[in-house]
Amino acid sequence: MEEHFQHLYQALSHVDGYIYPNEIDLHWGLMIVLYPYITGLVAGAFILASLERVFNVKVLKPTYGLALLTALAFLLVATLPLVSHLQHPLRSYEIFMTPNPTSAMAIFGFVYLWYLMVVLLLEIWFDYRLDFVIWSKKSTGFKKYFYKIITLGINDTDEKSAKLDDKLGYFITVLGIPSAFLLHGYVGFIFGSIKANPWWSSVLMPVIFLFSAMVSGIALVMVIYMVVSWVRKVKIEMPVLDTIARYLLYILIIDFTLESLDQVHRIYEAEESFDIIKVLVGGKLNITLIYMQVLLGTIIPLFTIGFFQVYKPSEKIRKTCYFLVGIMVLIGIFFMRWNVVIGGQLFSKSLSGFTSFNAVYSGLEGYFMAAVWLILPLLILAFLLWLMPPWKKVSFQG
């Protein structure tokens, strides 16, 4: 606690203007930046998978299973930074037991469970059931037992059963698209519905969160597809990359338009809070917003992929650019979450001053822990890819 007080005394000496005395401490730190970031990656990756399936974008087939497993790996971790940030994590189950129906946050547990249990797990199960049956006969040891158990005793392998799996999987995917929209639009609502905070309170917030989620998820699957192909030493299919990049471009345009609209609206209306927001954007958020989010995460990727639509350089150059663009978008969206969560707490609700964010390395709220929450899903993904490699699947559809 002493250490915490020291941080606060330090922040107190850096207060700029007037803030309410209870506002020196930022109540939501890095963990709450990660929460919408990771949830967004899940929603985005899932929507990319759904594109292939529902809209029958055949060229994206190699990324379908990969996107689903990526979504699952990140979804499994999504709640951990949230729970670890709670002051009483052991009471977190109360959100399920006695949810407050008027609370935007209370419903998250249910949306999350619906998405994990009903949508993602079911879809993956229908997609893999036949393979589990076949693999359970071929494998040995742990894998054999895992496959056996996970078939849930449904061991049919004929074409009709596969078709049924496919039909039901399709149905779940159709159900999954609005669910993914709900999952992330809803995360945006958690912030957008706080009328006390003019930086958050915006009707566009859920839509912006949704589209930025799609942007980050698509970029993530693109990068993971390239990395996995390199590791497996198989050729990266350029039509796959070009198509993903094109989708990334479209969604990025929508996302950028929406965010610009939000800002233009603020600037034009110039309400009471505008003066302080102007200082916030020009000062404390200058680097993370203008340079990281807008320039690195949006403008450069937009122009790069946009340019490739009119002129296609060699595959090698395109591949490198796509990889870099993917990373830049991922960094950009991370800072978008940062700017929302941290930015919204830097200025006082008295609209008369600023506090500062004290970055720490150690502890549950520190950078190291944040790195753990970002690396853990990648390890889970690696495990899932080892356990149920999408490229080894049998397909009746050919």
Partner: protein, 259 residues
């Protein structure tokens, strides 16, 4: 294996899944009605006009910024003494001749507020005591995911410290900065109008110690209370009325500079 067998297998699987899901859903749908069922019909219809509804008046014209209220509050309610945790505090507003407004509240005003602007530069100066506004439409109550913060039947916004999960969402939702995360109990903390005192017929600590009677506490439904008289005689205002929170803390002499 024929199609029939597959269908049967699937049917079983779906039946049990649907039953499980439906059961859970039905239970959570019916749960809220439990309370209605428990309520005696008469209790709901009871006339509320005679019930107590606590509120506070703050007279900016009489506050001298001694900070005794903030100090008494910390002592009475065991609020950590560090200058980051306040259930109530006093702000000093100084409007300068050049139109600029300086707002200060070092250590919440504890120890007395001192003017840092030279007299010749001052256009006007006044003190504004702040506390939880015990809003009728409390955004913090709306936001709490587990219902740990609630409005008592006599209108006081309280936190159930044994129930709060410490998510800080209520702190984000409060437009007045009236809440903080207590570093000792690790739950959201705020002014309770000294609920432990007022339910015994005593005044809140801040009201008790105020040397100039700048804080007037009372029952908003009691026409004879000092608070209702204060509201009758003075032109009172609430903080941030545009947010539609309907505070039960009313200010006399509120200047437009006050945020």
């Amino acid at each position: 294996m024929g199609t029939e067998k597959i269908k049967e297998n699937r049917r079983k699987f779906f039946k049990s899944s649907v039953a499980l899901l439906g059961g859970t859903l039905l239970y959570s749908l019916l749960k809220p009605f439990e309370l209605i069922a428990q309520n005696k019909e008469g209790a709901v219809k009871e006339d509320k006009a005679n019930d107590t509804l606590w509120g506070m008046g703050v007279d900016i014209e009489t506050c001298i910024g001694c900070g005794k209220c903030a100090e008494a509050c910390k002592v009475e309610n065991n609020v950590p003494k560090e200058p980051f945790y306040f259930r109530t505090w006093v702000e000093q507003y100084t409007v300068k001749n050049n139109g600029k407004v300086k707002i200060e509240s070092p250590n919440g005003g504890i120890g007395g507020l001192k003017q840092s602007v030279p007299d010749k530069d001052i256009f006007k100066s006044f003190m504004v005591p702040k506390l939880c506004n015990h809003c009728t439409n409390a955004p913090c109550v709306q936001a709490c995911p587990v219902g740990a913060t609630f409005i008592s039947p006599d209108g006081v916004v309280l936190v159930d410290a044994t129930y709060c999960i410490g998510c800080s969402y209520c702190i984000q939702a409060c437009p007045y900065g009236a809440r903080f995360m207590n570093p000792v109990t690790k739950v959201a903390d705020k002014c309770t109008f000294c609920y432990h005192r007022i339910t015994k017929g005593l005044k809140p600590a801040c009201v008790e110690v105020c040397p100039t009677n700048a804080r007037i506490f009372g029952n908003l439904r009691d026409r004879k209370s000092n608070l209702v008289k204060f509201l009758q005689k003075k032109q009172t205002e609430v903080l941030k009325p545009h947010l539609n929170t309907h505070p039960k803390v009313f200010y006399n002499g509120l200047s437009s500079e006050v945020k």
